[in-house]
Symmetry: D2
Subunit: 369 residues, 4 copies
């Protein structure tokens, strides 16, 4: 039972601190014979990389991944895949003054209370930098999905930044890749940019966000009730991401306000199987996928590191006013989009393997070919 691991058969253990020598992911249970290179994984890491636009932290971390094991001649072998990312842009001196201080909203104080020791540089293990390892592992899951279930698509996007929400009538999937916010509504992008600019530069503030991740093309039957339910695993995956405070499937919290008649997804028989009139359920019934779009939403709190002074204490209990300098994301939710996608990819692959077996039906033949 590793408490730094997720997944049943596709089992990922992340390791590493923000300012240690390296961080990474030990990926066990990837099926054999999946084409996999560092380039494949780098593609996904680059989407999460800091410094892509002025709206994210200006730290320069190349986040270059190195595959240390589990791949032979360009294909996975079914053995553990070790992914390592060296930490390079470590300005540890930025963090010297917080060695004795607990930053409000951060895990400084709870790590100290729990462990009696903490790597305070950049938040150490509790830094959002840990999510780079998740994105790398998600890259492996993507490659395996491409091989085992090429019909499955997974895509995430921001639906809200602070008080500003998208207009779903303008939803355009193609737009997601066209702006700095993974925003599917071109109509709000300019407004979001101005809002965030002002917040960061003038207001010395930060803001929360809401992310949605959709799985399209997943077969019916994924999920393992009653405690390996697909929605249970997705909720845990999302809630385990730094700064996430809420998780929803389909109607989510809004389901509390509905009546049974409104909420029913009626069923008809289509050409390729059952079809549903609506998708209040978010593609999951009883913890098992229906074959519809699986819809996950999660809220990311505003970055706690802001230039505005906040009241706190030192380790010795004395009061201190904290102003968090450094190069921080004004809206950490932006970079949470690829993280959410990566976690969802891992969960979906995991359940496909539960369905098909550890090696996905592979066998080595012996005899004349």
């Amino acid at each position: 039972m590793s408490l730094n691991s997720y997944g049943h058969l596709f089992r990922v253990t992340t390791w590493g601190e923000s300012h240690g020598p390296a961080l990474g992911a030990t990926v066990d249970g990837c099926p054999p014979n999946v084409p996999l290179s560092e380039t494949d994984i780098q593609f996904w890491l680059d989407r999460r990389r800091p410094g892509r636009s002025k709206h994210t932290t200006q730290r320069q971390e190349p986040d270059s991944v190195e595959i240390l094991s589990g791949v032979f001649e360009g294909r996975t072998t079914g053995t553990p895949i070790q992914l390592m990312i060296r930490n390079t842009d470590q300005r540890s001196k930025d963090y010297g003054e917080i060695a004795e201080t607990f930053r409000p909203g951060h895990a400084d104080i709870t790590y100290w209370q729990k462990y009696g020791i903490r790597d305070y540089r950049g938040g150490g293990r509790s830094s959002a930098r840990e999510t780079a390892a998740r994105v790398a592992a998600g890259g492996v899951a993507r490659q395996a999905l491409k091989q085992l279930a090429p019909e499955v698509e997974i895509f995430g996007y921001m639906v809200q930044m602070g008080p500003k929400v998208i207009d779903r009538n303008r939803f355009d999937r193609a737009e997601i890749e066209n702006n700095d916010f993974w925003c599917p509504d071109a109509g709000v992008v300019g407004e979001w940019a101005d809002f965030l600019d002002h917040l960061r530069r003038k207001d010395h503030n930060s803001v929360g966000a809401m992310i949605e991740v959709v799985v399209r093309g997943a077969p019916a039957g994924l999920g393992a009730p009653v405690y390996g339910k697909l929605d249970t695993d997705l909720a845990a995956a999302a809630m385990s991401i730094n700064a996430v405070k809420g998780v929803e499937i389909g109607e989510g919290m809004a389901a509390a306000a509905l009546t049974g008649r409104e909420n029913a997804d009626e069923i008809t028989m289509g050409e390729n199987g059952p079809e549903y009139s609506t998708n209040h359920a978010g593609g999951i019934l009883g913890g098992i996928s229906t074959g519809q779009d699986i819809v996950l939403r999660f809220a990311v709190k505003p970055t706690s590191s802001i230039l505005s002074p906040r009241q706190s204490i030192r380790k010795d209990g004395t009061p201190i006013e904290v102003v968090t300098k450094g190069r921080h994301d004004p809206c950490v939710g932006i970079r949470a989009v690829p993280v959410g996608e990566a976690m969802v990819a891992a969960v979906i692959l995991d359940h496909i393997l539960l369905d098909r077996g550890q090696t996905g039906g592979i066998r080595g033949k012996i005899g004349p070919s």
Copy 2:
């Protein structure tokens, strides 16, 4: 890896179907020397029992629990505790007609697609009746907490039923036990009762709800980042409950709309340790408890079994109009309150054991006493 189990050291496996001979929970990892009787557990089961008021299903299930193992002379022994509840009020004939039909909003169709067989009586394994086993296991957790951490209080209540929410200014914890809705706001109880009455009797409809569970008095330091985080485990625990579609900690989904300045819980030094100006975090930072109230919220969708006709299909793909007769809860969220409490109790005990060890520091002495 049992997919019907939850918990790390305090490990609960539920088993059983709605209309089988019995259902129950195998509870492994309860510390030894905890006073435990059937009466202790029955107390909690009775809170979830159907038929407590006109606002819940009128089925009559006594839900009497029998302890089959793990207790000797009134105390736990550290070995697995088997809890069995015989099913008694089984009107299987009520369900005969759904053997070939998939009820909208239910897991009938996905269980069939996944397993190729299903116990269709009352939803079988996917019935909310399974939560009785969770409540029984929660009763064991409550007894262990009373022994190991008597300062911990866990209480749940409804904060919303359909469109109607409580007024938090009228919040009164004592009121929770005084009405049929576990509602902490006496001012809305009458309105809720009328609303639900009309919905059930006139409108043949059902409604969703939102439940909040608070943990008071838990020590700082509980939670095991980065994947056994306390909020991750609470989110999974809540999302695994039947009909739950969303889960929040502290500010929850609303955190998306906040700025960093608004969201910061400032820290001061109190007499007994750190104190916080606010609790936007819901008592958890970086996945570890702060010592503040831990605040979990979850949304329960409206009961899918309603008397209003909905469109669906039979197993052979032909269309059918489904009207779900039988004795169903108009708002299954009411009975989800004790279920939520039970899941939270299990999670909290689990993390206390991770902190203190499997047997909670017990040792048998040999020698003159």
Copy 3:
């Protein structure tokens, strides 16, 4: 992580004490659509039942199993299967005097030291009676194997009782079922019977035994290196059985004395795939099955409960001479044969499921049949 559970996907949790109300097994991960009745399981339980011959304990426990969940209309549903065996022949008074005493060779003292409480009646949880639950679970595994891999045969037998070993030249599988010792060598049965008779009746003593279990017909490719190796799982399964002190695969401990040339199993190509000149490896290379017979051997220590007086202490540290009355097996190894078979069946099924997926490839079809 239940510490009373074994198996990866086919996950068995045993529960119950010798003299409690009942004992049993929670079996999670059995594939759906496997024909299963109480009679199917009872068949295997009856082989372990006490009182089958004068060479085993004369306790009369019918060990009737009741299936409480997971089976619908004679077939498994893929949900947890609860197996319960009520304890009936409980002469608790036989054990009254050992409440304050630690019997040499038993777990009385270590359970006390660990838990600070113990159900002393008949050894409580540490009683060999717990293995009835394993045999019941093994019966489920046998049924699933019959369905998923009918070519697999699993059979165990005794190869040694105290100083007396079988002559492998006289090995006759058909003989195993013909005597009271599951002995494959008819030539030694009389001698064994006399030896055990004398030991029990005249010498007030007991004796150890060695059991061998063979898996025939298992496919190549089972096993999950490097820590879910097939031999690792078999070793753990055998060592977890009460009174087992050693476990071997193939040559086992004797491999220490061999040279590389002697130990090599040479390979040739047969009609149906690779063939091996010998089977020193016991059917497992690198933790993965080769397709040959899988050969597991384990040693069972002599029953610690004997009528001869042995020196010990009471809980208060004062000395006492212990004579264990009651109805005990003179050679508990005899009844360990069906237990060993059951554990092996569970391990083999588990690895077949790892290979094929949780539900073994089942899918429910929707549409005209």
Copy 4:
């Protein structure tokens, strides 16, 4: 559920292949505040390193370990510790010819059959080189034990090489470190050296061995029945090591030949608790430690890579005579001694943590010191 992991709370996942870029261990669950440096771990790795004497392989692998995470300012932080060993002396060309061939006694054929792909260089994942990662993880366990339970000693030694066994009357623990065989009997060392010399140089052969590992000073009460028993976990740990074919606790397989009177360890009350007249049990009763020496023994088969030709087949089924060149250990059992110790250290620490909690009772204080 990682199938490349061992341990409950102290959880080690090994990764890496013989000739890949690196191999290592992800160590999760090490308690915080344990002093740990690369030098501490290197000490143990050096004992396993090839080329220490003419009796082991002459490959030159420095096996330098790098700590990539989980340590801050010389102390563990309670977060995952990543240990990496770069592979350096990779003569991959030595292995080119076995790409299409299955070496008898090796896992070449079963890995191929299972995965349909294998890194054939040096055995890939199935190489004994993987055990370097276990020794590194064992080094972490040793450091944690030194901190949490300094009275615990763990030491291994060879008791048999091929047909040659030690004389236990000459057992001298100090001698173990003085010779090339970790042999506690100075009187046989010369004979063993000559025997192995001849085997390797003249006979082109290899030989098996038997290793014993003793845990001295462990407290009573370690072990988690009935499936996390201390002997179960030790058996699995030992059997998972490459080339191990048998595992024993205390009397082990010889227990089969004993009577109950012979096998009883009688108990008396000593100054510091219970004492035992003998230790047939090997320090474990009912799966729980008694406080006596814990005695584990395991047999290592002879190295399969020998210069003598053996019959085998190619991937296409055609026959081939295999002569394994390269630099191989004539008795791989020698280097299995530190591996066995490392696995035992991990198991003992794991059970101490189960007893005391994940962080071993650590808490960070806030306030004036």
